[in-house]
């Protein structure tokens, strides 16, 4: 008969087993955390090293008196963990700090080992007296503020912010409407109107620019249309005769110009007449 003194323990005491269980659980959690951290570190390095493309951005006139800045952002996530709640905000300000437009995109999830593209379309209102109307006639440096938020690998909320300065070329830079010496042609008062500007924008201008000459009282004195086909980075300077309404004086009035292109109509800021 085997004595209890020499028999091996088959079942340790309860407290011992409880303590051992707690220690093993602790070790398992530690091991899981170490493996998780190692893979997160590797994935984050891969994510940071991968190519993220923000290409194809372009500006153009859009409907409703807006300039559309469109493009896409392509993010490659080669790591093991998704980027969840990815959202991006853009704010465009002019040099004096006025807010011209803003955009909020997301939240989206960037799947692991995949490339995700985000279309970006930002519409800047350019109607007369709006904050962004200066974009039509003034070349300027814009500040593009970018805010991004996301949660990486389930546990790490990350936010990023940066500002970028972007040069803006105005499509009707230095727009000038000048009147020549009036003459009488076939009994009608005719005045030569010279329209000049520089298309400093990144896009060509195709359409018709209509200028209405108004008296100081707001009465329409005459109308003239220019057919535009102005490539990017090109100056424009054309003169046409305007037949003025009898008895209507443009002195102290204004020239109101409207550009009509494909699917868009843009009202330009009024030009005062001498």
């Amino acid at each position: 008969m085997a004595s209890s003194a020499s028999s091996p323990a088959r079942r340790p005491p309860g407290l011992y087993r409880l303590s051992r269980l707690l220690r093993r659980l602790s070790a398992v959690v530690l091991l899981v955390l170490v493996v998780y951290l190692a893979t997160v570190g590797y994935s984050a390095y891969e994510l940071a090293s991968s190519s993220h493309q923000s290409g194809g951005f372009s500006a153009s006139f859009a409907s409703n008196n807006t300039v559309a800045v469109t493009g896409s952002l392509s993010v490659t996530n080669p790591g093991f963990y998704p980027v969840s709640g990815f959202s991006i905000a853009l704010r465009i300000q002019n040099s004096s700090g006025a807010l011209l437009g803003q955009l909020w995109q997301g939240p989206e999830t960037l799947a692991a080992q995949a490339t995700t593209s985000f279309p970006i379309a930002l519409y800047l209102p350019i109607a007369p007296n709006s904050a962004a109307s200066s974009l039509l006639e003034n070349d300027q440096v814009l500040t593009v503020g970018v805010w991004g938020n996301a949660t990486y690998a389930y546990l790490f909320p990350v936010s990023i912010h940066f500002d970028q300065n972007k040069s803006w070329g105005a499509p009707f830079a230095d727009l000038r409407v000048s009147l020549g010496t009036p003459t009488i042609v076939n009994g009608a008062l005719v005045v030569p109107l010279t329209l000049s500007f520089s298309n400093d924008a990144s896009f060509a201008e195709l359409g018709i620019l209509t200028t209405i000459l108004e008296s100081s009282a707001g009465e329409t004195c005459g109308t003239v249309s220019f057919t535009l086909n102005v490539p990017s980075q090109t100056a424009y300077d054309q003169t046409q005769n305007v037949v003025l309404t009898s008895g209507c004086s443009v002195a102290g009035g204004s020239a109101d110009s409207t550009f009509t292109g494909e699917g868009t109509t843009v009202a330009l800021p009024p030009e005062p007449l001498p």
Binding site: A9, S19, I160, Q164
Partner: protein, 163 residues
Amino acid sequence: MSAPPPPVPRPATSSVPSLGYRILAGGTRLIPLLVALVLLPVAVLTFLRSHGVTLPVSIVTVEVAGVVISVLSTLRYILRPTSAYGPLSVATSSVTVGYLLVLWVQSTYRFALPNSSVAIAVDYSRLVELALIVPLLALAAGLVTTVEDLRHPGERLPFDYPP
């Protein structure tokens, strides 16, 4: 007449290593602990600082906490056959919890990339909260061992050091 209760099967012997052996093994074990808890973190912090990224936790905090935890862990290992093992386990875990709480308080890290306008904020508080599970479980284990040693001194030795 009722039958006597069955005897609790329990090994009566254990093979507890000598103190000298435990000191030697503990000292050997101390080296990787110091590497993992002091040298490696300090090297990472120093590397990041040299690249303009300064984490909120100071190198001194990492060094002190790492050394204290390593030494306590080694002492715990050496004194495992004694009743000091449970309290030392509690002390080691408590210091680790305190260290993680210090990291947790500073767990939102903001930094600006050098020579750029890029500002990044990373919040690793959830990771620290998860990491707290490890010392808290060890703390509970230490408390249980302390109670066991108070109630039945030496009871665990044959299981910790089987013959």
